[in-house]
């Protein structure tokens, strides 16, 4: 075929296209940030929840569990665990680990005190209150 195909044009399209779509992405990000307060349950972001999130992170819970579907796929989803199990079960379960059942997956014992357990539960409660467009499909996560 005749007609030209030059590197200079291809390069300009790359730079122009990349800049264009990145700006669009920034615009959408801006809009998302505006829309978040209605969805992200941030009104319930208490100091206790924040401490719970810190515990969640510093014990690398995401290395086995998923939270809102993100993380490892070795242990149950915890975004909705507050609804699935309730606060008392969660605390009792964490305290009872590891089960030591031969051949079963084991969760370490993290030696949380009662206040820390409450912090974690509050974090799960807050997470459960985030509007996730109805994900997961059912209570099992």
């Amino acid at each position: 075929m005749s007609g030209s195909f030059t590197k200079a044009t291809a390069r300009n399209i790359f730079y122009g296209g990349a800049a264009f779509f990145f700006l669009l992405f920034l615009a959408l990000t801006f809009d998302s940030q505006q829309a978040l307060p209605k969805r992200d349950n941030s009104q319930n972001l208490t100091p206790q929840v924040i401490r719970g999130k810190y515990l969640w992170e510093t014990n690398d819970c995401i290395g086995c569990h998923t939270l809102l579907g993100e993380g490892a796929y070795f242990a149950p989803e915890l975004g909705n665990v507050y609804k699935r199990r309730g606060p008392d079960f969660i605390k009792a379960w964490i305290k009872a680990q590891p089960t030591g059942t031969p051949g079963r997956r084991q969760m370490p014992n993290f030696h949380f005190n009662d206040q820390e357990l409450d912090d974690l539960v509050q974090f799960f409660k807050y997470t459960n209150g985030i509007n996730t467009n109805n994900w997961p499909p059912n209570i099992q996560g």
């Binding site: 075929m1 005749s2 007609g3 030209s4 399209i13 669009l24 615009a27 829309a35």
Partner: protein, 194 residues
């Protein structure tokens, strides 16, 4: 109507740079998928879309169609003028295309301001989400088209495109025509049909 020309033209060539046409085809693909998604969502809930549509300013959008068509026309004239070495004329026509872009942008911004002032956002409902995203996405394309036209105009002033070397100009105008073509589908789709 225009597809009936059967006599083989001596040499067929791609207007402008092939790389631009890859870009144009990719853009058309994106817009095409977006339009069809709009159609399908509207099919599922016509009442919502018809209700939303009554709040749109179709007359203002018609003006915008005229701006883009005019810009497209002057872009064609610019390419022809430059091919015939009439650089001054070509320069004026490019400015005209750019100016039509400015008119479009100003008019569209006023329209956006009106809707946002009434509290409509991307999260209002499916109609407003599609309307705002589609037209904003297209709006950005008009701005990119203006940038490209401006770049060609500057190159023209710098004395590129000697001896009727119009590939660069055609590359730019092809993009503008694409933006126009997309709007020609978008305009009846969101403003008129119900």
């Amino acid at each position: 109507m225009t597809t009936l020309t059967l006599q083989a033209t001596p040499q067929k060539s791609i207007p402008g740079d092939l790389a631009m046409w890859f870009f144009i085809l990719a853009e058309l693909l994106v817009f095409g998928v977006l339009f069809i998604c709009y159609g399908i969502t509207r099919f599922a809930d016509p009442a919502l879309f018809n209700a939303g549509q009554t709040h749109l300013h179709a007359g203002q959008a018609a003006w915008n169609t005229l701006f883009l068509i005019t810009g497209s026309g002057t872009a064609v004239l610019a390419a022809h003028a430059i091919a015939r070495l009439q650089y001054r004329q070509g320069s004026i026509f490019l400015v005209a295309t750019f100016a039509s872009g400015v008119l479009f942008v100003v008019n569209k911004l006023m329209e956006f301001a009106s809707y946002l002032g009434q509290g409509y956002t991307l999260s209002t409902d499916n109609f407003w989400m599609f309307y705002l995203f589609l037209t904003f996405f297209h709006f950005l394309h008009v701005i990119l088209g203006m940038v490209i036209i401006a770049a060609v105009w500057i190159k023209l002033q710098q004395g590129h495109y000697r001896n009727g070397q119009t590939a660069g100009v055609e590359t730019a105008t092809s993009y503008w025509h694409m933006v126009d073509l997309v709007w020609i589908v978008l305009f009846p789709l969101v403003y008129l049909i119900r």
